[in-house]
Subunit: 206 residues, 2 copies
DNA sequence: CGCGCTCCATACTTATCCGTATGGAAAGAT
DNA sequence: ATCTTTCCATACGGATAAGTATGGAGCGCG
């Protein structure tokens, strides 16, 4: 190679972007972001590849097909949810009521918007897919049992504890579906009062 | 036309299926069914046409494009919801508490599954479309106000009425997202108890 | 009956999407 | 440095989907 060709070779090399290398996890993370923004239907291989600044060659190296990715996303969601549930519902003795309020707050806060969007997307998927439904059922069961344990620890009787924990989760999911900003002049007070309706039992030791 | 050709002509005519003629409403109804079953992403022109046993020629005569159909579906949903809300929350004097229980029951019953699936699909759409969101906001507002009026008529103070009616709707939507059959041995009792938590106020005149 | 209008079937174009095959770039090991 | 393995880019094929254009079927009316 003479000098002129060597210079041209290097100029081309300098303007060539190095090839991005992603691991499987990067794909799952990217997919989860798209899931939050656009739901399951928005999770498309080529669109996601473009978003991650690679092509689908990478995708098909890491995953057998689109469903393989979806299942990986779902599994990661489940693991994360169960880990969080256990963390959120592990209370110091005597702090159970405060923890109940904390759970309600965490799920109904605006800052949890992305997490809730993923939650809703996963549940939308679960309505039409048996495997997704099984995983949602598992997460729901863990959640309800952990939250019920908090109510029980407050001295609430078993049946009432069951009702309240279920109301708790139904409320936080349901409210994330609704558009209510114009309904009341003080939404923060409204949410606080609702948390009180859910959390406070005549039986609870405070 | 000689006699043999005339017979052949009539045989062909007899086996030719008469052309189906649909009005715009038929399309909107069909679309709403698909929406319930498959959500917004499942609402595709050619697939819907096939389901209605016509081709997309009919569709494009009645609608400008797919969005035109979606908006029509949404408008029909809104009109139906508002009509139902007013019917459901119109109580005979002294029957307001029973009506509250009725509303909770109607929305959380298994027989309302299809209606709830449409509701969830519309809300999924509204999360990503401003026009859909505006209509959902309108429906939510009407619902919350009508239900609040029921609580007020029971003697519940304004702020508590606001909290309870919002909890009511959040609960019924939320619970439709959840998978809880294995959580409790008596789901019917669970739901009854939750309805009691929502509906019964210390202030209410029974 | 003929004519006009409403309505639908079909062919066509363009774009997107998924999955497969193949070549080669980049990283790791020796 | 070379060789092997991991990983990605791209071309390709087939299917689906939306929207447009055109011809004609069917209905309604005088």
């Amino acid at each position: 190679m003479d000098e002129e060709s060597s210079i041209l070779f290097r100029m081309e090399t300098n303007t060539t972007k190095p090839r991005t290398q992603l691991d499987r996890d990067a794909w799952v993370h990217g997919a989860t972001e798209v899931l939050a923004e656009e739901g399951i239907a928005g999770l498309r291989v080529e669109v996601l590849a473009k978003r991650l600044k690679v092509t689908k060659g990478s995708f098909y190296w890491h995953f057998q097909d689109r469903r393989d990715l979806l299942i990986a996303v779902l599994q990661q969601w489940k693991d994360g949810r169960i880990r969080d549930i256990i963390k959120q519902t592990t209370a110091e003795k005597g702090n159970e009521l405060a923890q109940i309020y904390h759970v309600i707050d965490v799920y109904s806060a605006s800052r949890s918007r992305r997490g809730m969007m993923i939650e809703l997307a996963v549940r939308d998927w679960a309505r039409r897919d048996a495997e997704a439904a099984a995983i949602v059922a598992e997460v729901d069961d863990v959640r309800l049992r952990c939250a019920r344990d908090l109510f029980l620890a407050c001295g609430v009787p078993m049946e009432e504890a069951s009702s309240r924990c279920m109301l708790l989760y139904a409320y936080v999911f349901g409210v994330s579906l609704m558009i209510y900003e114009k309904f009341d002049t003080d939404v923060a007070r409204l949410k606080r009062d609702i948390a009180n309706l859910i959390a406070r039992s005549a039986h609870a030791v405070t």
